[in-house]
Symmetry: C2
Subunit: 400 residues, 2 copies
């Protein structure tokens, strides 16, 4: 059934909700079984409980002798107790299982060996003294990992301790990215005036990789409806979602909206976000298709606002958030009413004060995003911010 | 030259300094050339500057006509200026290079086409109006990345924009990890009493991976001097450093100190850290060799205190630090004077107050480290902390 919800410049949060809602039944993605030791940073699809206890036996926590604690009652320096080796006591090493019927260990330093068959002890011990008991670390049936949690190094150890050797984790969301634009050339090409080096798709791939998805890059296609259409079909055969990058200059012919309309539905076209406005969010064959603006900073903003939440939704995890800090703005910024603006800033510490300085706002200046320490949002109902305003900055880098 | 600096229970910070100083001349590691698009999260070995400007030509920022700005002076609605197409003006698309001698663009909406050869304009434009100039994003020679910085997605884009296709990054530090102990069995084995599942090496590998190194796991060897010695030699032939994990119970025979002494030098043996005390830090053939305690929490603490800084030093980066938060302790903790203790805690928010609750302190209870939200350090000169104390907690997880 074809359904076109064509929205002109929605607030991005509304657009995002509408977009994700469209795929609510599809996600999170199915799971796949992997070895625990290869599961670092993967997301478990359901609660994982321990198959076995760890330790799985009562063992000695010391080198010494195993005893029955009741046999030690009343022992002291003036009235030591003697125990027969092999029946009333057994020598044990650290980690050795406790012999059947024994419930405590006396460390070797506190044992006097009278002869090969007899030892003497000088104080009583309580049950389970120096015993590492069954399940001290993990008990059979214990919850080891909650559904949708991310597996860290200590989880790998705990899962293995609990007897798991494999674990079911979410499949990694598979994206395909298609750079379009007759002006685009591969990095390393000899450049003629008018050529643009195609780097957006490589940035897209790196971002998706950081968010725990995978991304395959497809070869550049020229601005031709049929070619774009054929490529998008191919990408969706091989992947969970497609990203089509428009030519890297504003005004270039962008066939994404037509292709999405032809093959599926447009859900959102345009959001009130700067840079990033001309985004296309659509659906083809029940898979998300995103038309990314060609200006690199616009592309980066849209990746963050829409693709990061999409990847997290596919994985079943909360949306990754950046750490926020308060800072004082060094200079006045004007902003367009009705547009939510994302301003790149550098952050410095000036004595105790944290100060944020805006960088260039050109959507084509990708180097400014590499230089930026953070992003400052100016809401759509504000015409700007005064110098000295206290603002909230989302950190792109962990600083000091 | 053999040099044995055998230290009994140094503060770990002194021990670390001594350890890293031993290898100061060896690190950071050499570089290797990789494709920029495959360089995510790698560390650049030296400053990288732009090979070319981006854009590399003056181009139109709009669909319209290219003009010489001086030709437009004086144009207004009552006295429009007419320009001849092909000589005084040229049609351009967004991204098109500006014809030689032209310095401004008028957007198509502001142009009146009189006939095929003539257009009319109604206002003057300044030089470089609607022109995306050479180097607007990156100028040839611009510093793109500082030495020892980590390459992120925006850096990949910026490097490609600046004409780089490859970049020299630090080789990943190569570790080999050897689990030793006759009681150890592989995950998935049928368990007899006394068997211990070997999971420490898998935790070690995952931690080193997170810190941007690589780690190869070697097969379990029994507690035999010659076998351990042979394995360590082999590991050091193939790797930059070796980690030997002692049997996973205290008191097991640990041949690491003898092997390191036989083949090289012990730098530190024992630190005043709990858990983690019996660590061995050594050098064989100018490569670091670390004897890790077998109790998993001890192993994890030593990994964090010594191996993380070692990996970062090999990479030439600052030591990765965890984020710290202030919290209020829910209960009294006793601690041994003369030992710096690392206590696992959970963190909760109780209204506006952040509270930290200690978990078990057993060095064998790895599940508690998986459950912990953070780590609280009790300095060696304190006998403990009172309930309600304000403490600093290093976060193991990003929470709220």
């Amino acid at each position: 059934m074809k359904r076109t919800i064509y929205l002109e410049k929605r607030p991005w949060s509304e657009a995002l909700e509408l977009f994700l809602d469209t795929f609510r039944d599809m996600y999170p993605l199915q799971g796949e079984e992997v070895l625990v030791e290869q599961a670092l940073d993967r997301i478990v699809t359901s609660d994982v409980t321990a198959r076995i206890s760890s330790p799985h036996y009562d063992g000695s926590a010391m080198d010494g002798v195993a005893v029955r604690s009741e046999d030690t009652i009343g022992a002291d320096l003036s009235t030591p107790k003697q125990l027969k080796v092999g029946t009333e006591t057994h020598f044990v090493d650290t980690g050795s299982p406790l012999p059947q019927g024994f419930d405590a260990v006396i460390q070797i330093e506190d044992v006097h060996e009278i002869d090969d068959e007899t030892i003497e002890i000088y104080s009583p011990v309580a049950p389970w003294h120096y015993v590492r008991r069954i399940g001290e670390d993990v008990k059979e049936g214990d919850l080891l990992l909650r559904q949708n949690s991310r597996i860290g190094p200590y989880d790998i150890a705990t899962l293995l301790a609990g007897g798991e050797t494999t674990v079911t984790v979410r499949s990694k969301p598979k994206f395909g990215v298609l750079p379009t634009g007759s002006e685009l050339v591969e990095p390393g090409s000899a450049l003629k005036p008018g050529d643009i080096i195609e780097f957006n798709s490589r940035m897209v791939k790196a971002l998706i990789t950081q968010w725990s998805g995978t991304c395959q890059r497809y070869a550049i296609v020229p601005d031709e409806f049929e070619t774009v259409e054929t490529s998008v079909k191919k990408i969706l055969e091989d992947n969970d979602a497609a990203i089509i990058i428009a030519g890297s200059s504003a005004g270039r012919r962008d066939f994404t909206p037509q292709v999405v309309e032809e093959l599926g539905d447009i859900i959102v076209h345009g959001v009130n976000v700067m840079p990033g406005k001309p985004v296309v969010l659509g659906r083809i064959e029940n898979k998300p298709v995103i038309g990314l603006p060609g200006y690199p900073v616009s592309a980066a903003v849209i990746m963050d606002l829409f693709i990061k939440p999409l990847v997290c939704t596919m994985l079943g995890t909360p949306i990754i958030e950046r750490r926020k800090i308060q800072a004082s703005l060094t200079q006045k910024i004007y902003s367009k009413l009705g547009m939510e603006e994302f301003v790149r800033v550098t952050i410095k510490k000036d004595k105790e004060k944290v100060i944020a300085t805006p960088l260039t706002r050109g959507a084509g200046v990708i180097s400014s995003l590499a230089k930026a320490d953070g992003i400052l949002r100016i809401p759509d109902n504000m015409e700007g911010l005064e110098a000295g305003s206290e603002v909230e900055v989302e950190l792109l880098k962990e600083i000091w």
